[in-house]
């Protein structure tokens, strides 16, 4: 009597496994941490985004120190003033390189070949970064912060958001600046980076298929 061949085992089904399969399919480590890139990726333009991220690392690090010691600290302490200066200048670096990155991607038409969501998330990051910086400027508790708040209330009130986003309320602005908006910007940045890594960098404008590459040139 012949033994029946074992039935192929059905794939177990669970929410956990579904998510794992989804991540494996869309976010393989090879894409998240690639070690090869197209040869045309050889311009300073490609550096702008990573420099902006480096600026953000400094913003978050200096911001954590400022938040830990409280909003009065940097007005009264030399070390605090230095940390605040780190915060200010890293914000400037972040914005300069984010804008350069944005213009670079515009002139490269970086949204081509299914990359429109990456572009759109990038613009949203830019917009929320501006709001984040704004709440930081009005939270300075000095003449700058005071005047910016007095001046800016007219715009927020005219837009109808002054009733729940009161720029003259230091406590509200500080909380939003220190917790909510940074979380949002960092989360959106993670989404942006994942989208970039899932799709890879876009081909040059007017790209034409070249001769098939040799084996060693073929993407592995």
């Amino acid at each position: 009597m012949r033994e029946a061949s074992p039935k192929p085992q059905a794939e177990p089904s669970s929410w956990t496994l579904s998510i794992r399969r989804l991540l494996t399919r869309h976010l393989p480590l090879k894409n998240l941490l690639p070690d090869r890139q197209p040869v045309y990726v050889g311009s300073w333009v490609y550096i702008f985004g990573v420099v902006a991220i480096a600026g953000l690392v400094w913003i978050v690090a200096s911001g954590v120190v400022l938040a830990f010691f409280g909003p009065q600290w940097w007005h009264e302490s030399g070390v605090g003033r230095f940390v605040n200066s780190l915060h200010l200048w890293s914000v400037q670096v972040f914005f300069v390189f984010m804008v350069l990155h944005l213009w670079g991607q515009y002139f490269m038409a970086g949204w081509r070949d299914g990359r429109a969501p990456t572009w759109m998330v990038g613009v949203v990051i830019f917009a929320f970064s501006i709001v984040t910086a704004f709440t930081g400027f009005v939270s300075q508790q000095n003449f700058d912060g005071q005047w910016i708040a007095v001046n800016a209330k007219d715009a927020t009130n005219a837009a109808g958001i002054g009733s729940f986003f009161n720029v003259l309320n230091f406590g509200q602005m500080y909380g939003i600046h220190v917790v909510l908006l940074p979380m949002l910007v960092v989360t959106l940045l993670v989404v942006h980076i994942v989208l970039v890594r899932m799709r890879g960098v876009v081909r040059p404008i007017g790209y034409k298929h070249a001769a098939p590459p040799s084996d060693e040139e073929r993407p592995s």
């Binding site: 040869v39 200066s85 400037q92 670096v93 007095v150 009130n157 002054g162 404008i205 993407p219």
Partner: protein, 313 residues
């Protein structure tokens, strides 16, 4: 098909070279660290002290009293602001039927006479017979009489002088108003008014709406800002005190406030906000907008960026 397969297919025919993503990030972080630490160490950051009501009342008592009188008379900027502070008719900005300021309504009610002048004076009047009498006389007068005193007093303030630290005006029938203003000025100079305007019955306070609105109604704070090129018509939203860069990324937002018809309109803020929302939305939707999405193909900047590719292809 996994995203790795899709990428492999996308890059078929393209020479791939090795690179080190993590090393690139670490190097960028290193260079940015040098730049940020260097700039912070060499240039520091601005920190001009905030103006308090105490400073204002001490440095420019005439402006303080003039502003306080306008708050009491209900003629100040805040008194006629509209939502979210009060329901002054036709004060809310609108563009045609779009009136978000009016839609939002009054959420932070401010009665400038009560909140900025009479209630703080009520605290100061305890144990002060002159002020108590003045407050009683003012409260007992008709609204017409109060406005008459305040109008005459405000007119006289245009030629006011400061004598022995007191604001002095030409003689006239101002009722108890000079005593009220003297009391409020004294209260402000001690710093007590800063605290009273902040107080809301709780120990911990973080909402500076009332003191900032009061100061914003005067000329002292705006004049200091104008000296530092910080007002709206001086590209102020993107500047900081001193020579420091401020929110330079708000240049386009600030730009509209510098040119007609925006800088002369009564609803400038709302028009600029709507314009910026439209422009930001357009920027986000560039991939789908003909012409805007085609410009990169027409402008040969991409040929500079990918010059090596175009040289060899």
């Amino acid at each position: 098909m996994t995203s790795a397969d899709r990428q492999a297919e996308y890059y078929v025919g393209i020479k791939m070279v090795h690179f080190d993503l993590v090393k690139e990030l670490v190097l960028a972080l290193f260079v940015v660290s040098i730049v940020v630490i260097g700039l912070a160490g060499a240039l520091s950051s601005p920190d001009d002290p905030a103006v308090t009501i105490q400073t204002w009342a001490t440095k420019d008592p005439v402006d303080f009293v003039t502003t306080a009188a306008s708050e009491l008379a209900g003629t100040s900027g805040t008194a006629g602001y509209g939502p979210p502070y009060n329901s002054t008719a036709d004060a809310a900005q609108a563009v045609g039927p779009i009136a978000p300021q009016a839609w939002a309504g009054v959420s932070t009610p401010i009665d400038t006479a009560q909140d900025f002048v009479l209630r703080p004076l009520g605290f100061a009047a305890i144990g002060n017979p002159t002020l108590t009498t003045a407050l009683q006389a003012y409260g007992a007068a008709s609204a017409t009489q109060q406005q008459s005193w305040l109008t005459d007093y405000s007119t006289a303030l245009a030629d006011a002088t400061v004598v022995n630290d007191e604001v002095s005006v030409a003689s006239g029938d101002y009722g108890p108003v000079p005593d009220l203003m003297t009391g409020l000025l004294g209260l402000a100079r001690t710093g007590a008014l800063d605290g009273l305007l902040l107080s809301n019955g709780n120990l911990f306070q973080t909402d500076f709406t009332r003191p900032l609105l009061f100061m914003g109604d005067g000329n002292y704070l705006p004049n200091l800002a104008a000296d530092q090129h910080l007002t709206g018509d001086q590209w102020g939203m993107m500047n900081e005190t001193g020579m420091y860069p401020g929110q330079t990324w708000l240049w386009l937002f600030s730009f509209w406030y510098q040119i007609p018809p925006f800088n002369t309109a009564s609803n400038t803020d709302l028009v600029v906000i709507i314009l910026m929302i439209v422009l930001t939305t357009l920027l986000a939707l560039v991939p789908f907008i003909p012409i805007l999405r085609d410009i990169p193909r027409w402008v040969p900047i991409h040929r500079l960026i990918w010059r090596r590719y175009y040289r060899t292809s």
